[in-house]
C-alpha cells in the first residue's frame, strides 16, 4: 500500500472517531475526494451558516498539495471573504507553495476556519469578477500571489 492510501486511511479512521468542533465529515468517496462541512461561530459574519469544503487528493498526497475549495450547495453558500473567490477558490499559501506533507485534512480545515474567524471585511477579493471569469476548474491550477498577511 502506498503512502497516499495508507495516510488517507489513517486520516479517515481518525476523522470517523471525531473531528474538531465546527467540522463535519460529509462523505469520503473512495479516498479521492472528501466533503467536509465547516462552521465559524466565533465570527458574526459567518455565524449560523454552514459552508462545504471539497478536498481532492492526488496520488502524490501528502507530498503534493490536495485541491481544496468551497463548493456551493443547497443551503451551503460560498463564504464572503477577501481571499475567497465567488467560485469557491481559496487564496491561501498552505494550499499552494506553502504546503508541506506534515499538514493534513484536519489541519487545513482548521487553517481555513481561523482564516474566516479572523476576518472583518464583508467583501470578495478586489479582482473577483475578472478571476472568476477566467479561472481554471481547480484552484490548484491557478497561481496566486500571496501578499496579504493581515488575514
Amino acid at each position: 500500500m502506498d503512502i497516499c492510501k495508507r495516510r488517507l486511511m489513517k486520516e479517515l479512521s481518525t476523522a470517523e472517531k471525531g473531528l474538531p468542533s465546527g467540522l463535519t465529515l460529509v462523505s469520503a468517496n473512495d479516498l479521492t475526494s472528501w466533503y467536509i462541512d465547516i462552521t465559524v461561530d466565533s465570527n458574526s459574519l459567518y455565524q449560523g451558516q454552514i459552508y462545504r469544503l471539497m478536498f481532492m487528493y492526488s496520488p502524490n498526497y501528502p507530498m503534493k498539495v490536495p485541491n481544496v475549495q468551497f463548493v456551493p450547495d443547497e443551503n451551503r453558500p460560498i463564504p464572503i471573504h477577501p481571499h475567497i473567490y465567488a467560485n469557491g477558490h481559496i487564496c491561501l499559501d498552505i494550499l499552494g507553495d506553502g504546503w508541506t506533507p506534515v499538514q493534513n485534512t484536519v489541519s487545513v480545515c482548521l487553517s481555513i476556519q481561523s482564516m474566516l474567524a479572523g476576518n472583518h471585511t464583508n467583501e470578495r477579493p478586489p479582482d473577483n469578477d475578472s478571476y472568476v471569469r477566467s479561472a481554471p476548474k481547480y484552484a490548484q491550477d491557478s497561481r496566486f500571489i500571496y501578499h496579504d498577511d493581515s488575514v
Binding site: 495508507r6 489513517k10 501528502p62 507530498m63 443547497e74 506533507p101 506534515v102
Partner: protein, 549 residues
Amino acid sequence: MPETETYHSETIYPVIASDIAMQGTKTIDSLNRLVDYSSLDYIDVPGHLLCPICQYPFVNPYTTKCGHTFCKECLIQALEPNVDLSVECRCPIDRRPLNRDYVEDIFPAPKIISNMVNDLVAYCPNKSRGCQFQDQRWLLQRHIKDVCDYALISCGGIKEDGSVCSQPTHRKFIMEERRIQRDYLLYGYSMLPPTNARLMYGSSNIHTKNNIKDSASSSESVETKDKSNSLKFDQPSKNNLHLNAIKDTKLYQKLASQDDMPLLELQEDIQIPCVHQESDCANGCGIKITKATKEAHNNIGCTKVMLSCEYCELQVAKPKLNLHFEQCPEMTISCSAKAYGCTWIGIRRDLEAEHQSKCHFIAMVPFLSKQDKKIELLEKENKSLRYHLDNISQSLANLPSFGNINRNDSVSSDSTTYSIETTESLGALPVLPVDLSMTNASISHMLMENDRLRADLDHLTTSLAELEMKQNTLFMQENFRNQEVMHSIKGMINTLRQQIHYILLEHRAFTTNSSNPVHIINQSSKVASTNPELLRRRLSDITRQDVKL
C-alpha cells in the same frame, strides 16, 4: 541470522524495512520475507513515535539537521526536487532548506529512536488468516519465518502425477504432513489420524528422491481408511519389516539421532504428498476436499459429521443441528410466552402436552404481539415525527429575523403545530430522505414567506391606524369650525330677523301713522317704554359685530 538460514528453500530473509521496492513482487517468498512495518496493526503507539508525514510508526527513521525525524522513505519523497527546481526543498515542519543528497542535512536518527519503534507491539501480519500472535515488531519476522501457522509457504508436496506442487498454503498443513511422515518413519505409525499419503513409505520401503514417482503411484493404490488402519495396528509384522528395511538409511539415522528434530528442517529429507490433492470427504458426504480445506469442511460444511443431540441423543448432521434444536422434543426450553412474563421452564414435549393448554400468557400472545407491533409502528412514527420537528425547529431558528418576529411568537408557534399536524398524516409512510429535505426546504420557505407577509401586514395595519387617527382629528377640527360658523350664522340670522321685525314694525307704524297716527304713537311709545335701552343699543350688539366680520 540471514547468512545461516539458507539450508532450506523456504528460508525467509529478515525484514529490510526500507526495501519497499520489493513489495511489488508478490511471490510466496516475498509474502513472508517482508514484514512491512508500516502496514502492521500496532496495539498502542505513543504519538511521538509517529512519522508526521505518513502518520505511522517510524520505519527506518531519519533525522534532519533541524532536528525533526521522519521515515526515510517519507523524507526522501518529501524532499524530492521539483522538475523545474522552482521550489526549494524545505523541512516539512519548520521549512528550513534541506538537500536530500547532503549527508549533513539528513542522516539516520539516533539508535534509541529505532529501538523504541522496533519495540512497539503489533499483531502478526497474518491476523486476517487467523493468527492471534502479537509481539514487538522486530520479533514478528522470526515468528512468521519459523512459527506462524498461517504463514504462506510453498506446498512442496508430491502431486499425483509426480510433480512438485508449488501452490502456497498455510504452514500448519505442511507441518502436520511432515509430522505424520516423520512419525511413520521412526515408529512405523503416526499418532495422528492416518492418511493415504503415509502409505508411501509402507509400500516403497526406502524413500529417496529418485523414486518419488513410485511412491506416488503406490499411494494411489491404497485409499480407504480401513486399509490404512489395518496397516497401522493389525499388521505389526509388516511394520517391523518396514522398520528393518529403512533402519539403515541415512534419514532414519538422522531422525533417530536427534529425538526432537525440528520439522522445519526436514524439508529436504521428508517428502510429503501435496496438500492440495483432492479427495472425497472421509465421511462420505460426496464433496471433494483437500487437506488444506478439510478442517473448515469438517467444522462447518460436512453433512456426514454426526453429532448426538445433547437432549434426545439423536444423531444429527452438524449443519442440521440448529434446525434440530428447534424441534427436539427433549430439549429444555422456556415457555413461548416468556417475553410476556411466563416463568415456566421445561422440556418441549411437556410444553406441547400440558403447559400450552394451561398457560394464560400463551392465550394472550396474539393480542400482545399485535400490541407490540402497534407500539413498534408508533415508535417508528414518533421517530420520524421527531426528525421532522427537529428539522422544523432548526429551520425556524435559522430564519432571518424581520425585526417584529418576536411580537409574533405566539403566531409562529401556531404555524409550527400546524406543520406537525400535516406531517403526522404522512408519518406512517416511509419518507425518503431526499423527499424529506425537499419538504423541509419548502416548509421553511413557506414559513419564511409567511413571516414576511405577516410583517408586511403588521406594517400596513399600523400605518392604517395612524391614517385613521389623522383623519379623525382633521375631521373633528373641521367639524368644530363648521359648528362655530353655523353658530355665528344662526346668530346673524336672529339679528337679521329682529332687524327685519323692527323695520317691519317701523314701517307699519309709519303707514298706520299716516292713516291712524294715534295708534302708531301708541305702539311706538309702548315699544319705547317697554324697552328703550334695547332699541338704542342695538347698534353695538355683539351679533351685529359678528355680521360685520
